[in-house]
Amino acid sequence: MGAHHHGPAKGLSRWLFATNHKDIGTMYLWFSFSMFILGGSFAMVIRAELFQPGMQLVDPLFFNQMTTLHGLIMVFGAIMPSFVGLANWMIPMMIGAPDMALPRMNNWSFWILPPTFLLLASTLFMEGGGPAFGWTFYAPLSTTYAAPSVTFFIFGIHMAGLSSIMGSINIIATVMNMRAPGMTYMKMPMFVWTWLITAFLLVAVMPVLAGAVTMMLMDIHFGTSFFSAAGGGDPVLFQHIFWFFGHPEVYIIILPAFGVVSQIIPAFSRKPLFGYDSMVYATASIALLSFLVWAHHMYTVGMPVAGELFFMYATMLIAVPTGVKVFNWVTTMWRGSMTFETPMLFAIGFLILFTIGGFTGLMLSIAPADFQYHDSYFVVAHFHYVMVAGALFSMTAAVYYWLPKWCGRMYNETMGKTHFWISFISFNVAFFPQHFVGLAGMPRRIPDYALQFADFNMMSSIGAFVYGLSQLLWGYNVISTIVAGKPISDEKVWEGAEGLEWTVATPAPFHTFETPPQVK
C-alpha cells in the first residue's frame, strides 16, 4: 500500500487486510451480532425445554451443552467483542486520533475470533458432544469427566483470550499515546476512561484464565493433578483461579457499558455529566476492588470463616462506588431538558434494570443469605439483570446513538422505540420471575424441574421468546437504515451530543483527524 490512499480497498481484501479502525470496528460489531443470534438461539432451546415440566425436546446432556455454549458465546463471543468493536470505532474519534495505535495487530485480534468460535460451535458435532460443564467449567467435571472435545474448548479459550489481550493492548496504547493536543486524561470522554480501565483489567486477568485452562490441559493429557485430590491437587484451586479471572471479567463486561451510558444520558438531558471526577474515581475503585472479591462466588465451598468474612465485606464495599455511579446518572438527568429518543430509552432502561441487578448483587454478597441463593435461579436472574439489561441494553443504546454518525442515515425512530418497549417488557417477563423460583428453591442448570416452579417458568419462557424475536427487529432496523435510511448530513446528529466524534462529517469519512484537532 502506498502512502497515498484515500478510500478503502476494493472487495474482499478491504476486510481481510483491514487496518482501518472503522472497518475493523464494523467487523467486530457484525461478528458479535451474529454470535448474539447464535448464543440467543441456544437460549431459545433452553427456554423451550423449560417451558413445561418433563423432558420434551432435548436430552439432559445436550441441554447442558446448550447452557454451556450459550454462556460462553454470549460472554466471549457477543458482549466482549461488541464493546471492542465500539472501542475501535469510537475511541480514535473521541480522542482526536487518526486510527488505533497498532492497526495491524488490530486486524489480527479480530480475525482470530471467527475461526475460534467456529471451532467452539463445531464441538457440538464431535464425538461425546461439546462442552457440557457450564461456562464456569469447574474441574473435575471439565477435566477427568469431560468429553474429548474439551481440548478444542481449551484451545478456543486460549485464542479468544489472545484476541482480548491484543485488543486491550491496542486500546491502552491508543489512549495513552494518541490523544489530540489538549486532551488531558481528565478531559477524556467517560467511554474512553472506562475502556482504558477495562483494558488494564483484561491484560491483568486474561493470562490467569489462560493459566487455568493450561492446567486443565495438563491434567487431561499430561498426567498432572492440579485439580485432582487423588494426585495431591485440589478441585477448589480451580475455582479460585477461575474467579480471580471471573469476577474482574464481569466488570470488564459492564465498565464499557457504564461508559456508553455516561455519554448518552448527558446528551439527551442536554446537561453535562454530573460528577465527572467522581465517576472516574468510582470506576477505578470498582476495578481495583474487583480483584479482591472473587471468592464471593465460592461461599459454599467450605472456606474458613475468616475468608468468608473478608470476601463478604469486600463485596459489600463494591456496592458503594456502584451506587455513586447510579446517583450521578440520576442527578445528570435532574433539571435537564430531556428528550426520549431510542438511545435515551435504552439508557434509562439500563439505569433501572442495572440498579435492580445491583440490588440483588448486594443481597448475594451477604454470605449467610447466599447459602440459600447460591446456584439457584436467583443468581441467574441477578446476572441477567446486569449482563443483558446492563451490558446489552447499553450496547443497544450505543448502536442507535452512533449509527447515524457511522452511516450517515437515520434509523426508523418508531421502530426503535417499539424495539425498546418490547425488549424492556419482555426482558422483565422473562427474568423477574426467576427471582421467585430461585428463592423458592429451584437450582440453576437443570433441564427439568418440580411442579411448583411450572407457572413462573412458562412465563419466563414466553418472555424469553418475545425478547429473542424482538431482537430481529433491531437487526432489521439497522440493516434497513444502512441500505435505505433517510440520509442526514448534520455533523451533530443529536442536539445535546458533545465530543469530538460529532465534529467530523456525517457519515464519518474513512479517515478522520489526519491532522489532530486542538482541544481547549
Partner: protein
C-alpha cells in the same frame, strides 16, 4: 402538578406493594415466591437477614427511581424547560458515598453473627457422612448407634413421568427411594464429600447448602425444630443427570428415630450374616428379581428386553463366562450409563441379581452365584 406527581408515584409504587404483599403472604408457609424461613433457627435468622436487605433495597430503589421518574416527568424538553448547567457538588458526593457505607455496616453486623453461627460445628449429637455420586446421594451414620447403617438415595420418579407418558406425581423429581432420616431437635453434623465430581447438598428448609468435593470433607450442620419431610436438590452442576438427584430428609421424633435406626441396624446385621451363607437357586432368584426390578429394570427392561441399556435376554455377557458378568455388574462399563454397582448393592444382592440375570428371561445358564463369589471378585 402535585396531584399528577402523586398519581405517578402511586403508579410506580403499586407493583412494588403488591410484590411485597405477595412475599409476606408467602412467608407463612413454604412459598413459591420467596425464600422459605424453614424449620431451623439459623434458617429463620437467614430469612430475616434476607428480608432486611430486601427492604433496604426496595426503599433505596423507591427513592432513586422516585427521583428519576419525577425528573423524567418534569424535566423534559417538551414541557419547555431549559437545562441547568450544574455538574458538581463535593458535598452531595461525599454524602452519597457515606450514607450507603453506613447502611452497609448496619447490615454487616447481623450478617457476621449469623455467619459465625453457621460455622459453629461444636456439640453435634449425630454425625452423618454424605457422599455425592453421579447421580445419587449416599448417607452413612457415623456414631455408634448407627454403626454400619449406610444406604444410597436415588431418584424415585419413573422415566415415564419424566418423558411425559404418565401424568406427574405430586413430588415429581423431588422424591427418592430411601430418604435421609434424622431426629428432631437434635444438632446433626453433616460431613459432605463426593466420589466423582463436585455436587452440592441443598435443602432450603434446613438452610443447608454445602459443596460436596471429591477428596475433601466439608462440615455443616442443622437442627430442625419441626417434624416433617423436607426436599431439596443437588445445587452444583455435576453432569448429565444433575437435575435428577434430589434430596429428601425425613425429620422424625426422637423415639421414631431410635426405632428406625434400630431396625436399620438389625437389617445391616442380617446382611452381614447372610454374606456368610450359601443360598439355593430359588432363594437367589426370588431375591434377585426384587433387586433387578428396583435397580436394573429402568435401563434393561422389566423383561430383560433392553432399553437405555442393552438386552439381558440372550446377552453375550449374561450367557457368557461368570467372571465377565460379575465384572460388569460390580465395576460397570466405564464411559457408559452402566455404572459400577459394586459399591451400591451389598454382596448378597449382587449375587442374587447376577444369578437372576443368568437364569431369567430365557437365559437358562443354571449356574448360581454366592455372596462369597462376589466378595472374592471384589478382592480381585
Amino acid at each position: 402538578m402535585f396531584v399528577k406527581a402523586k398519581r405517578l408515584s402511586a403508579l410506580t409504587l403499586s407493583p412494588v406493594l403488591t410484590l411485597m404483599a405477595m412475599l409476606n403472604a408467602g412467608a407463612a408457609k413454604a412459598s413459591s415466591v420467596n425464600m422459605p424461613p424453614g424449620v431451623t433457627t439459623v434458617g429463620q435468622t437467614i430469612y430475616g437477614l434476607h428480608m432486611t436487605i430486601l427492604w433496604i433495597c426496595v426503599i433505596v430503589g423507591l427513592v432513586v427511581f422516585g427521583v428519576m421518574f419525577y425528573s423524567i416527568y418534569h424535566h423534559r424538553k417538551s414541557r419547555g424547560v431549559t437545562a441547568s448547567t450544574f455538574h458538581e457538588s463535593t458535598k452531595v458526593e461525599i454524602a452519597w458515598t457515606l450514607v450507603p457505607f453506613l447502611i452497609l455496616i448496619v447490615v454487616a453486623v447481623p450478617a457476621t453473627t449469623t455467619l459465625l453461627d453457621v460455622y459453629d460445628f461444636e456439640d453435634a449429637e449425630l454425625d452423618v457422612l454424605i457422599t455425592g455420586y453421579q447421580w445419587k446421594w449416599k448417607y452413612e451414620y457415623l456414631d455408634e448407634e448407627g454403626e454400619n447403617v449406610q444406604f444410597f438415595s436415588n431418584l424415585r420418579t419413573p422415566q415415564s413421568e419424566i418423558y411425559n407418558t404418565e401424568s406427574k406425581g405430586e413430588h415429581y423429581l423431588l422424591e427418592v427411594d430411601e430418604p435421609l432420616v434424622i431426629p428432631v431437635d437434635t444438632k446433626v453434623r453433616f460431613l459432605v464429600t463426593a466420589n466423582d465430581v463436585i455436587h452440592a447438598w441443598w435443602v432450603p428448609e434446613l438452610a443447608v447448602k454445602k459443596d460436596a468435593i471429591p477428596g475433601f470433607i466439608n462440615e455443616t450442620w442443622t437442627k430442625a425444630n419441626e417434624v416433617g419431610v423436607y426436599r431439596g436438590q443437588c445445587a452444583e452442576l455435576c453432569g448429565k443427570d444433575h437435575g435428577f438427584m434430589p434430596i429428601v430428609v425425613n425429620v422424625v421424633s426422637k423415639d421414631e428415630y431410635a426405632e428406625w435406626i434400630g431396625s436399620k441396624q438389625a437389617e445391616a446385621a442380617e446382611i452381614k450374616k447372610l454374606m456368610a451363607q450359601n443360598f439355593s437357586l430359588d432363594e437367589l432368584m426370588e431375591r434377585g428379581k426384587g433387586v433387578y426390578d428396583r435397580s436394573c429394570a429402568a435401563c434393561h427392561g422389566a423383561n430383560g428386553e433392553g432399553g437405555l441399556g442393552n438386552a439381558i435376554a440372550k446377552s453375550p455377557i449374561a450367557t457368557g463366562p461368570l467372571d465377565g458378568h460379575l465384572e460388569v455388574g460390580i465395576n460397570g462399563v466405564p464411559g457408559t450409563a452402566m455404572q459400577a454397582f459394586g459399591g451400591q448393592l451389598n454382596d448378597v444382592d449382587m449375587a442374587a441379581v447376577i444369578t437372576y440375570q443368568r437364569n431369567a428371561f430365557g437365559n437358562n445358564m443354571g449356574d448360581l452365584v454366592q455372596p462369597i463369589d462376589v466378595f472374592n471378585h471384589k478382592k480381585g
